[in-house]
């Protein structure tokens, strides 16, 4: 298959960037989007052109490292990560525009590579359980209802890729933060810290310069893990409830 690519090239964070045009020729229909870029890069290297820089790691849809906004949609059309997007989903001869994830809190480092460590700092603010909760076999000794376990699992599916913030017209990271807050706050191991967790994580999220949710639901539409936006509603409620406890002088 052949494609006409328009790719965002930018030397470093402060340099201005532009869209450059490249041809992707003889691409197997079974190639993933990243493999397609590997083939293009091999061609560029042969011509002594600096290859296109992009992020990837596992290439099996579980690590959340790959990014790319493809034709205006983070991770491209359809559910799943960029590494799990196959070229057979595109039309032969199609023009494909590739831009980095855009959000003020995700500065572009080079070409399509963005610095998403703002998410790491949000996790450091409270996306964990402080006490040791035992090893894997101990998990079975804590009874958890199926409904709660399923819901926590749906939230835990978040791979921290940042597509939600990149898709949001407000650059809001609330889907990501709500997934973490819901996942940990629902389970007995994470419950004791749920109030202070939601307060710290939301405050760190605001600090990082992510925007405010306007209930657009673009996040939910692009999330490769299918995290539902109803978790944002849950987080709103928990944050306000924890704030009220704090206002009343209760320990959180």
């Amino acid at each position: 298959m052949n494609f006409h690519l328009k790719v965002w090239r930018q030397k470093d964070t402060n340099a201005p960037g532009t869209l450059e045009e490249y041809e992707a020729e003889n691409i197997p229909a079974g190639a993933s989007f990243l493999e397609m870029l590997d083939i293009v890069n091999a061609g560029l290297t042969r011509k002594n052109i600096e290859p296109i820089q992009f992020d990837s790691d596992c290439r099996e849809g579980i690590c959340g490292t790959c990014s790319l906004t493809i034709n205006g949609i983070p991770h491209g059309k359809g559910r799943g990560t960029t590494c799990q997007l196959y070229m057979r989903k595109f039309q032969d001869g199609e023009t494909i525009t590739i831009e980095p994830f855009r959000a003020d809190a995700f500065p572009v480092q080079r070409d399509l590579v963005t610095n998403r460590s703002a998410f790491d700092r949000v996790i450091q603010a409270g996306g964990y359980i402080s006490e040791r909760t035992g090893s894997a076999p101990d998990a079975n000794s804590v009874p958890i209802s199926k409904v709660i376990a399923d819901q926590a699992m749906d939230a835990a599916a978040c791979i921290g890729c940042g597509a939600c913030a990149a898709a949001c017209p407000n650059g809001s990271a609330m889907l990501f933060v709500s997934a973490k807050v819901t996942h940990l706050g629902l389970l007995p191991q994470g419950k004791p810290e749920k109030n202070r967790r939601v307060l710290s994580m939301v405050r760190q999220m605001d600090e990082e310069g992510f925007g405010n949710c306007s209930n657009y639901y673009a996040c939910e539409a692009v999330c490769p893990a299918g995290v539902p936006a109803a978790f944002i509603g849950r987080m709103n409620r928990e944050f306000t409830a924890a704030s009220v406890k704090e206002m009343l002088g209760m320990s959180v």
């Binding site: 650059g171 109030n195 925007g211 673009a218 509603g233 306000t240 704090e246 206002m247 320990s251």
Partner: protein, 245 residues
Amino acid sequence: MITSPSASARTGPCPGWLWLNSSIGKKTVVAVTGIALVAFVIGHLLGNFTIFLGPDAINAYGAKLQSLGPLLWVIRLALLGILVAHIYFTMKLWQENNAARPQKYLASNPVGTTVFARTMRLSGLIVLAFVIFHLAHFTVRVVDTSYATMHTMLDGHEVHDVYKMVVTGFSSGPVVFIYIIGLFLLTFHLSHGLSSLFQTFGITNRRIRQNYETAGRVLAWALYVGYISIPVSIYFFGLGKGVLQ
């Protein structure tokens, strides 16, 4: 450990202030003031419907409101305060959201969102212009100053002839046009506003969200039909033509 000083050892900014300045706090203020404005919009419509019961009904309703005296002013100032807070916080959110996403995609592709959601600021500001026009028209009565001199007798007292004023007002094509457009923009605003309230408060879950959205849209359009029924009845169906002779 996720640090949080015990309540007695807490220092620093007041927790209420922290909440009000947080992303979620601001959006909750918008939703609370929004719901108060919607309550007013519903109440106002029910009051306006008295026009269909004839001149005496709406004139009595108008006289009753006027007789509240100072209480009427308390209600007016409270509504003004709520509206100002709504606009102040939405404009603050707007500014922050623009800063959070300074660079737009060149290949823009708005997925998941609706046109109602994406035009909240525009529809809101047009609604503001409409509200100002509406107050100038029927409350301050500066659009047509003759409204102020319309009086009639009701139960032996002289009262302001609200019925004649409204019928006169809606006999003008351009005025009816402004109301139909202004109210349409309000419906646009409420189509997203009403369906997003419960998400903002967090009274939601995956299954119920769809129902809230449908109910919100239905209510927004029902309010539209209710409101425009008055100018439409007067302008197109001759309601109250008799009083103009």
